[in-house]
């Protein structure tokens, strides 16, 4: 599928630079975190109440903070010490921050990969048809694409969620279902609406790339040859044009996973995602507690940053080696 020349580009890029290796290691760690969340988490991430005797959240290991509590009718300052039970402390309602960091990777990766996959499934056929047929068909389809592009993706996503609400589906977790791990959630919530919505607001970028590829190959000799042998347009499109446009689609898909992770975290931060086990949601939890409990929003944010860096590093490597001219949407948040 990938020509030899590009394959050697890929190898060379990987060998000569530290960055793709770093990206791969980071992404692999995050994927392992997501898959083996029940094993790695120290506490059930949804269980509340891990607070000290005065109802204060624990700070990360090795730190402490002072806060005021009511005692005998007056306020007294107390020092809250960390505990080795909660590596990264607990949040305002006493949930373990480390365990939520681990589980948050699931939501990010699920939405990032499924959302991007869905966007590919919508955008690529749309773009191929538009570019292959050309003329009127192309005009109409590209105006539709322009209309989609006139909405900032976050704004359109908010509008869609405003209409359809935000539903989540529970996906059973085999590790806990079969009794291998005790005391962890039995299922992971996939924010279903959000996954569909991020695909609906990002497919256009794939359509544009696929269209360009289809336009550039539709007059190639092998397409003419296939046509002269009586192949139908659909056969030509999916057997001949599609495989030739996959390289830029793969590059773009990698870049878009980063954009989708950011989009999901933004929607969760604003409280529109349908799951409460997400890095973006946890950042919003900490918003009111900045003055004392800074770790509540800092830790999940670092999760997002590392995930997005990992994907971006791999995306840069693929882009430089395979298709330097591709343009994605970028962040969005």
């Amino acid at each position: 599928m990938i020509p030899d020349r590009l394959e050697s580009n890929l190898r060379q890029g990987f060998r000569e630079s530290l960055l793709p290796k770093l990206g791969l290691v980071l992404l692999a760690s995050i994927l392992i975190m997501a898959i083996f969340a029940p094993v790695l988490a120290t506490h059930n991430p949804t269980r509340t109440g891990y607070l000290d005797e005065n109802g204060n959240s624990y700070p990360p290991l090795g730190t402490s903070y002072t806060t005021e509590i009511g005692q005998d009718g007056e306020f007294v300052e107390v020092e809250v010490e960390s505990t080795s039970d909660h590596l990264l402390g607990t949040n305002d309602i006493g949930q373990d921050v480390f365990s939520r960091l681990v589980y948050g990777a699931r939501t990010s990766m699920l939405v990032g990969l499924l959302g991007t996959g869905l966007a590919v499934l919508i955008g690529v056929p749309f773009g191929l048809v538009s570019g292959y047929y050309g003329g009127r068909v192309d005009d109409v389809m590209m105006r539709i694409a322009d209309t989609m592009l006139a909405f900032p993706s976050l704004v359109l996503a908010l509008a869609l969620i405003g209409v359809f609400g935000s539903a989540g589906f529970g996906i059973p977790d085999p590790l806990t279902r079969f009794g291998l791990i005790d005391g962890m959630p039995e299922s992971t919530t996939l924010p279903g609406t959000v996954t569909v919505v991020v695909a609906l607001v990002t497919w256009v970028w794939f359509a544009r790339v696929a269209r360009g590829e289809a336009m550039s190959v539709r007059n190639e000799e092998y397409v003419t040859a296939a046509r002269s042998m009586g192949a139908s347009n659909w056969t030509i499109l999916f057997k001949h044009v599609l495989p030739n446009s996959l390289t830029p689609v793969i590059v773009l898909a990698t870049i878009q996973v980063a954009a989708v992770i950011l989009l999901e975290s933004s929607l969760s931060f604003l409280g529109f995602s349908g799951t409460t086990l997400s890095w973006g949601y946890d950042i919003s939890r900490g918003q009111g507690y900045q003055r004392t409990s800074w770790w509540i929003s800092m830790v999940p944010g670092l999760g997002i940053v590392f995930a997005v860096i990992a994907v971006n590093l791999l995306g840069d490597w693929l882009r430089d080696a395979l298709d330097p001219n591709i343009e994605g949407e970028g962040g969005g948040a």
């Binding site: 105006r143 359809f164 933004s266 973006g280 949407e329 948040a333």
Partner: protein
């Protein structure tokens, strides 16, 4: 094709796109579950009052009549009335535009002022520490969610550094709603010569503008760097060097100018990201702009207000993109030949 013809074509396309946006927003509202009358007067209201309200908002008309009314209203700038406050949507949108513009422009200025020199330095000192630093910065910049960055800046400047800044610098970057807008502040300065309001405004916009601008700073740094590196390899650079023109002049006058053309295009395309970013930055900093109002409208399911804001944003987006195309066409006449 002349530039005039090119622009007319782009404007016509723009009109089509805006019509599409209006239609999509209308369709979304039409398929949205729930009786709008409930949202206006509450589900417990007297059926007679609800009927009255439905009549008043035109909700009893057949759907195509509502659509035609809606499009007609949009064309004349009448976006209807807010379900929640019964105020005119047009006024509610327009009063929030200045704050969003202030934020977007400040962020863009910060981005350009930092990114262009950084990109030039990075490209001129390839594979030196300065280049690695700039590359690392841009990687972090494009990978950081801006709402989190905003919270971390608040943590840094409005919590940890507040006292030292107050003591040693005599000012802080406060968090929270700005007490005065840019327009008023400038008016005060012009009429009374008092600059305090303007300084207050500057201190309030610093953190939100950095929050919104960081992604763009990172992106423009990347674009400038790669664009400059491409240009350095071109024959005209060798020619100007051979003529003995100083490097600084070559770099900033000739090479940078040619690099700016693709940067402007990409910036136009990324405007959606800027607006989306503004929505979320505004909610973090309580900045009284369109995004802040959009989130309120969403939470209240206030459809007319929500539609008004989104259509307005799309309109601005399309117009600015046409302006970018026009600028592009003037800078590089080849595009009109496509």
């Amino acid at each position: 094709m002349s530039i005039g013809k090119f622009l007319v074509k782009r404007l016509l396309q723009g009109v089509l796109v805006i019509w599409g946006v209006i239609t999509i927003m209308f369709a979304l509202r039409a398929v949205s579950p729930g009786d709008p009358a409930n949202l206006i007067v509450g589900p417990a209201a007297d059926p007679e009052i609800r009927d009255q309200v439905r009549e008043q908002y035109g909700l009893n008309e057949p759907i195509y009549v509502q659509y035609v009314d809606y499009v007609q209203g949009m064309i004349t700038g009448d976006f209807g009335y807010s379900f929640q406050s019964s105020r005119e949507v047009t006024a509610m949108v327009l009063e929030r535009v200045p704050a969003t513009l202030e934020l977007a422009i400040a962020a863009t200025i910060i981005a350009i002022v930092i990114a262009v020199p950084l990109g030039v330095i990075s490209a001129s000192r390839r594979n030196e520490p300065a280049d690695y630093g700039a590359t690392l910065f841009s990687l972090l910049g494009i990978s950081t969610p801006n709402f989190w960055l905003g919270l971390m800046l608040i943590l840094l400047f409005a919590v940890f550094l507040q006292d030292p800044m107050e003591t040693y610098l005599g000012f802080t970057f406060p968090q929270g709603r700005r007490p005065v807008g840019f327009g008023e502040a400038v008016m005060t300065l012009v009429t009374t010569g008092y600059a305090g309001d303007l300084l207050t405004w500057v201190r309030h916009i610093m953190l939100p503008a950095i929050t919104l601008g960081t992604y763009f700073t990172a992106m423009i740094t990347r674009l400038t760097r790669s664009g400059m590196i491409d240009e350095f390899g071109k024959p005209y650079v060798t020619a100007t060097e051979a003529k003995g023109i100083p490097y600084v002049l070559i770099r900033y006058k000739h090479v940078l100018r040619n690099t700016m053309i693709p940067i402007i295009t990409v910036l136009g395309l990324q405007l959606g990201t800027l607006i989306g970013g503004a929505v979320i930055t505004e909610t973090v900093f309580n900045w009284p702009g369109l995004g802040d109002r959009l989130i309120q409208a969403l939470n209240a399911r206030d459809w007319p207000l929500m539609q008004g804001i989104i259509v307005f944003i799309a309109l601005g987006f399309v117009l600015i993109n046409i302006a970018v195309d026009a600028l592009y066409a003037t800078l590089d006449p080849r595009v009109t030949n496509e």
